[in-house]
Each structure stands twice: as structure tokens, then as C-alpha cells.
């Protein structure tokens, strides 16, 4: 074993109480770093999953219709400065099929699914409820919103004459699987009505949605809402959730359509997530600073305690660079040992959390995001911190005047 390793290990062993203390400190730091990160990531992933459970990452709609004011002269002076906003009728996206194909080829976009949605009434006997009719291609829509997972009864089947209802709507209308419901629409000045067999009931997780939502096939919705062959919106998913707004802006500029990302429609949620992220970063930063200060303080004390030994080693021919490496190595060894223990501690904390933090029904409160690279990053970070912390004491040790150190 080289000189630096022999001396570093022996110095650490000699001051075993100090060594244990600082290894424990590093381990605690690494464990807190990993656990907090996994906890916050899990919390955020859970919040986003719940929020986006019923939403596409990006929604493309036709551009809003705008009433233009009349201009009276060449200078552009408005003859009628006040213009009433135009009522937005249900429209299809122009040429949505080629657009859909183009979107599917756009980098960062994973899936595209057409949808026709509009208002209507669900009628059964004397009861009628205001509803939102959503016409979809179930296979493709399932890739956007995992609608199959939300099924609480029956099956998700929306062939001709079939519909899937939100749970509360089914309750309000007193409908079960196999029952029939009449859907009435008045879109684009045409009143349409048809009867459907209920094949499935879904729980979308939000009462208001459960009270209004009716899923039917895409073609059925086109007929009900008088949009033959049309699509009132295209739903998109993207590879990186947090790229959604950038891609949405890009698409809006390119197509001239109304494009909204989940980040725009959930600004408050995003602000909360960002605040959480900043808080987590601050915690990580403080933990790293504490680890650096802890390792540095112990090594500084060690240099002071071992002045004479350092002097003797220098007198015996050890160059300053070797002495410096002895202390850098101590920092790295302490950090590496601490990070290995810290990883174990973090794993234990996670297991305990998953075991104890449960909902009333026994299901986990939320899943932690446990990524192997998080352990690697935390360990590497701890070693870097250990080395950084050791730089000043190591330089101090290397700069010791041997004659003076021996005289101490």
C-alpha cells in the first residue's frame, strides 16, 4: 500500500472517535439528501400524476374566432371602436388529420389522439343532467389518459350505440351497466338525440368530472355534435412533462391554433411544485454545506493534533505533496464510507416510510421516486464534498514547517 494510504488509514484509525463522528455526519447528510429527494420527487410525481390523470399534456384547439372592427379610412382609424366579443361555436380543427400526422412526427411528442367534445344532456326517464360528451378513439386516448385504470364497473367499450359514464352521473341518473341512456345535443343549431347502452362506469377522481362526463366513440360524437369527420381538439403527450409549455408555444407559433399545455392550465400547481423544488434544492445545499463544514472541522483539528507527526514525516523525507494527499485521502475515505452507510440508511428510511405512511385503506400515501442514480449522485457528491473539505486542512498540513512542528 502506498505511503499516503497507509498513513491516512492509520490516522483515521487512531482518531477513531472523531472518525466515527464525522462518518456518521456524512452518512446522515447523504441519507437526508437521498430521502428528501425521493420524498419530494415522489410527492411531485404523485401530484402531477393525479392532476394529469384526466388531462393531456398539451391540447390543440381551433383558433378562437375574433370579430374585427371596421376601419373607415386609409390611416386605419376605427369607425366602430367597441366591438362585441364573438360567441365561440363548436368547430373542428381544419385539416386535423394531416396536422395529427405532423404532430406525431414532432420531436418531444409521444402520442396524439383526436377528440370531439361538446355539451349535451343525459336523459333517463324524467331525469336529465347536463353532460360533457367526449368522443374518442379508446385505444389512442388510453395512451394520453390511462382511462382504463379509472374503470370501476363494466368495461371501457365505446362502439356504436355504447357509452361510458362518470360514476356520479350514473348515480344521478340511476344507471348501471347494461342500462340505456338518451343523449341529447344542440350543437350548431341542430338538435340531435340518440340512445346508448352503458358499458362502463369510470371514476375520474374529481366529482365534477364524474358528474358530467360521458365517453362515446369518436364517430358517434361527431354525429351528436354535428361535426362530421371533425375533431374539436387534439390531445398530446410529451416525453418530458416540463417541456410541455415550450412545445406548446412552438406549435402555436407554427400552426396558428390555440395550443395550451398542462403547465399553463395548472399554473398554481406548477408554482407550488417549483417552490417545492427550490426548497428541496436549498435543503440539499445546506446538507452539503454541513457535510463540508463537518469534514473540514474534523480534519483541521486532526492537522493541529498531528502537527508533530507531520513534522517527523517531513523530516523523514515526506514531501509536502504527499502530506497533502494524506489529508485529501482522509477526506475522501471518510466521505466514501459515510456515503455507503448513508445509502443504507436512506434505503432503510424509505422502507420505514413506505411501511408506516399509509392511507386509511392501507394503500401507500404515495410512492417514493427511488432512482439508483440518486444514490450514485449523492455518493459522488459526498466524496466531492469530502475532498473539497479536505483541501484547506491538507494545504495547511503540507505547509507546516517541519522544524517548528517538531519543536512543538
Amino acid at each position: 500500500m502506498p505511503f499516503e494510504w497507509v498513513v491516512a488509514l492509520r490516522f483515521l484509525r487512531e482518531g477513531r472517535f472523531q472518525t466515527a463522528l464525522i462518518v456518521g455526519g456524512v452518512a446522515a447528510g447523504v441519507a437526508v439528501f437521498i430521502f428528501i429527494t425521493a420524498l419530494v420527487n415522489g410527492l411531485q410525481a404523485n401530484t402531477i400524476r393525479r392532476t394529469l390523470g384526466t388531462q393531456a399534456h398539451i391540447v390543440v384547439r381551433p383558433a378562437e374566432e375574433v370579430a374585427r372592427s371596421q376601419r373607415s379610412n386609409a390611416a386605419g382609424t376605427e369607425a366602430m371602436p367597441s366591438v362585441e366579443a364573438r360567441a365561440q361555436r363548436l368547430r373542428s380543427i381544419d385539416q386535423w388529420q394531416p396536422l395529427e400526422a405532423e404532430l406525431a412526427r414532432t420531436p418531444g411528442i409521444v402520442d396524439v389522439s383526436p377528440m370531439v367534445s361538446g355539451p349535451g344532456f343525459g336523459v333517463r326517464g324524467d331525469a336529465s343532467k347536463s353532460i360533457a360528451i367526449i368522443g374518442i378513439d379508446p385505444v389512442r386516448y388510453n395512451r394520453i389518459v390511462a382511462i382504463g385504470d379509472k374503470l370501476v364497473d363494466g368495461e371501457f367499450r365505446v362502439q356504436a350505440g355504447e357509452a361510458v359514464l362518470g360514476r356520479d352521473l350514473a348515480l344521478d341518473l340511476g344507471i348501471g351497466i347494461g342500462d340505456r341512456v338518451r343523449l341529447v345535443t344542440a350543437a350548431n343549431e341542430v338538435i340531435t338525440a340518440d340512445t346508448f347502452t352503458v358499458t362502463g362506469i369510470v371514476d375520474l377522481g374529481v366529482r365534477e368530472l364524474n358528474r358530467r362526463t360521458v365517453y362515446v366513440g369518436l364517430r358517434t360524437a361527431q354525429n351528436l355534435l354535428s361535426l362530421p369527420g371533425g375533431a374539436s381538439q387534439l390531445d398530446l403527450t410529451v416525453t418530458n412533462l416540463f417541456d410541455a409549455e415550450r412545445i406548446a408555444q412552438l406549435l402555436a407559433a407554427r400552426t396558428g391554433l390555440t395550443v395550451e399545455s398542462w403547465m399553463k392550465t395548472n399554473e398554481q400547481l406548477l408554482a407550488a411544485i417549483n417552490a417545492q423544488t427550490v426548497t428541496t434544492r436549498m435543503i440539499r445545499l445546506f446538507v452539503a454545506a454541513i457535510v463540508v463544514l463537518g469534514v473540514a472541522s474534523v480534519l483541521v483539528v486532526s492537522v493541529v493534533q498531528k502537527r508533530r507527526e507531520i513534522g517527523i514525516l517531513r523530516a523523514m523525507g515526506a514531501p509536502g505533496a504527499k502530506i497533502q494527499r494524506v489529508f485529501l485521502l482522509q477526506g475522501a475515505i471518510v466521505a466514501l464510507t459515510g456515503s455507503v452507510l448513508g445509502c443504507g440508511l436512506a434505503a432503510t428510511m424509505m422502507l420505514v416510510f413506505l411501511k408506516l405512511a399509509r392511507n386509511a385503506d392501507g394503500t401507500p400515501l404515495f410512492d417514493l421516486v427511488i432512482e439508483p442514480q440518486l444514490f450514485a449522485i449523492a455518493s459522488a457528491g459526498a466524496v466531492v464534498c469530502g475532498l473539497l473539505a479536505a483541501v484547506a486542512p491538507a494545504r495547511r498540513a503540507a505547509a507546516l514547517d517541519p522544524a517548528q512542528a517538531i519543536r512543538m
Binding site: 502506498p2 484509525r13 487512531e14 507527526e309 523525507g317 514531501p319 504527499k322
Partner: protein
């Protein structure tokens, strides 16, 4: 003629250079030590003995003058060259032995080799153990310093100073902390290595009884060499 091991000419050493409290401790020291010499450096406290020993040991640079060791002028050497030269050429024995408490007796003796030649080989380990047997510590090879008596610790320090077969050992009051009996034993040990291995010793001592047993006595007073004489009272052993 015996070759010169070290040569000092016009060596001065001052502390607090450029300040109001500048003090010159050594004034124009001229001194040569031949290979295999066994010399005592005596003088009252504050006469500059330890400073001179530090200069000879390359632990401190002189303020002025020339210092040549094994034919190499040291003033032009870099810090790393000085350190390497010191490690290979000079062994140290201090009054308080200065063993490293974290290492056993054998490991302490192995340290100079570990620094100079890299990882320890079984042959070097055996050589270190033999050296400890030679200083009479066959039963204490793997003892940590705290479990050794003062005399035993000083024996380990001597073995360590001789580990790289350095041609010169500088001993700063090596018996100053020992009782008379132990002091005699340590002195005898150094004398034995001087005669058997031809290692030169320069021993700082306050003890006139021990100084009288050296071949040469150099007396330092107020930073100057007051006398430097061969000690005819010591019989030169037959080869």
C-alpha cells in the same frame, strides 16, 4: 584522507528578518564533518545548537553561507530536492523520540522506506525487524510506542534513523530524557552502529560525561564555534 560528508562555510541564521526584532542566532559557522565521524556538539542553552542541527538536517535554510552535503551545494536545491536529499542522507533522533503513536515499532522503522521507496516488501519488513533485534527489541517488534519504556522508544528511534542506511545521523539530546543507565545504553548503541556501519553521528548533548566519549567535541557559544577539538581520550578501535 576521509571524505567530507558535510561542509558548512560562513553559515549565518537570523530570525525575524526585516523586522525590528531581527535576531542573528548563528554567526559565520564553518564546520566540516567526515564520513564515519562520531562528534558531540555541546554548548550552553541558547547557544544555537538546535538551530545548527536543524540547518545541517536541512529542516531550515541558512540566512547566509554555503552548505554542501555529499558534494551537493544545497542553496540552489528546490524544496522537493531538499526533502528527498534529507530523507536519503540524514536520520534524526530527537530527545523525545517522536515515534508515530499510530504505528508499531516495526512500522515506525519501515516509514522512511515507505516514503522513499514506496510500498513495503516482505524483505524490507524483515530488514526493519532485524534492525530492531539489533537494538535489542526482539521481544517488542509489534508493540506500539505507548507500551515501550523511554529507553526502548529511543532504541526504536535509532533504528528508524538507520533504516535507510543514511550516512549521517543527527541526534538532538537523545539521552536527555533518560536515566543514567538507559542513557549509557543508548549512547553505546549509537557508538556501536557508528563503528559497525560507518554511520556518522553528530550528537547534541548537555551531558559532559557522554561528550567525553565522542571522538570529537565541537563547542558552540553565542552562535559561534568556540572550540572544535579531537577527543584524544577516546581510544580508536582497531579495524
Amino acid at each position: 584522507m576521509v571524505a567530507s560528508l558535510i561542509e558548512l562555510a560562513g553559515i549565518c541564521k537570523s530570525y525575524g528578518l526585516g523586522t525590528e526584532v531581527e535576531v542573528e542566532v548563528l554567526h559565520g559557522i564553518g564546520l566540516a564533518l567526515a564520513e564515519g565521524e562520531f562528534a558531540a556538539l555541546i554548548g550552553p542553552s541558547g547557544s544555537g545548537k538546535s538551530t545548527l542541527l536543524n540547518l545541517i538536517g536541512l529542516l531550515e535554510p541558512p540566512t547566509a553561507g554555503s552548505y554542501t552535503i555529499l558534494g551537493r551545494e544545497t542553496s540552489a536545491l528546490t524544496d522537493d530536492e531538499i526533502t528527498a536529499l534529507r530523507g536519503r542522507t540524514i536520520g534524526f533522533v530527537f530527545q523525545f523520540h517522536h515515534l508515530l503513536p499510530a504505528f508499531t515499532a516495526t512500522e515506525n522503522v519501515l516509514l522512511p522506506g515507505l516514503i522513499a521507496d514506496g510500498p513495503i516488501t516482505p524483505a524490507r519488513r524483515e530488514s526493519a525487524r532485524q534492525l530492531l533485534r539489533d537494538v535489542g527489541l526482539a521481544e517488542r517488534l509489534d508493540y506500539p510506542p505507548r507500551k515501550l519504556s523511554g529507553g526502548q522508544q529511543q532504541r526504536v528511534a535509532i533504528a528508524r534513523a538507520l533504516a535507510l542506511s543514511s550516512p549521517l545521523v543527527l541526534a538532538d539530546e537523545p539521552t536527555g530524557n533518560l536515566d543514567t543507565h538507559a542513557a549509557d545504553e543508548i549512547f553505546a548503541l549509537m557508538r556501536r552502529f557508528n563503528r559497525e556501519r560507518g554511520t556518522a553521528f553528530l550528537i547534541v548533548t548537555h551531558d559532559p560525561r557522554l561528550a567525553r566519549r565522542c571522538d570529537r567535541i565541537i563547542e558552540l557559544v553565542d552562535g559561534r564555534i568556540a572550540s572544535d577539538r579531537a577527543n584524544d581520550a577516546v581510544a580508536t578501535p582497531s579495524a
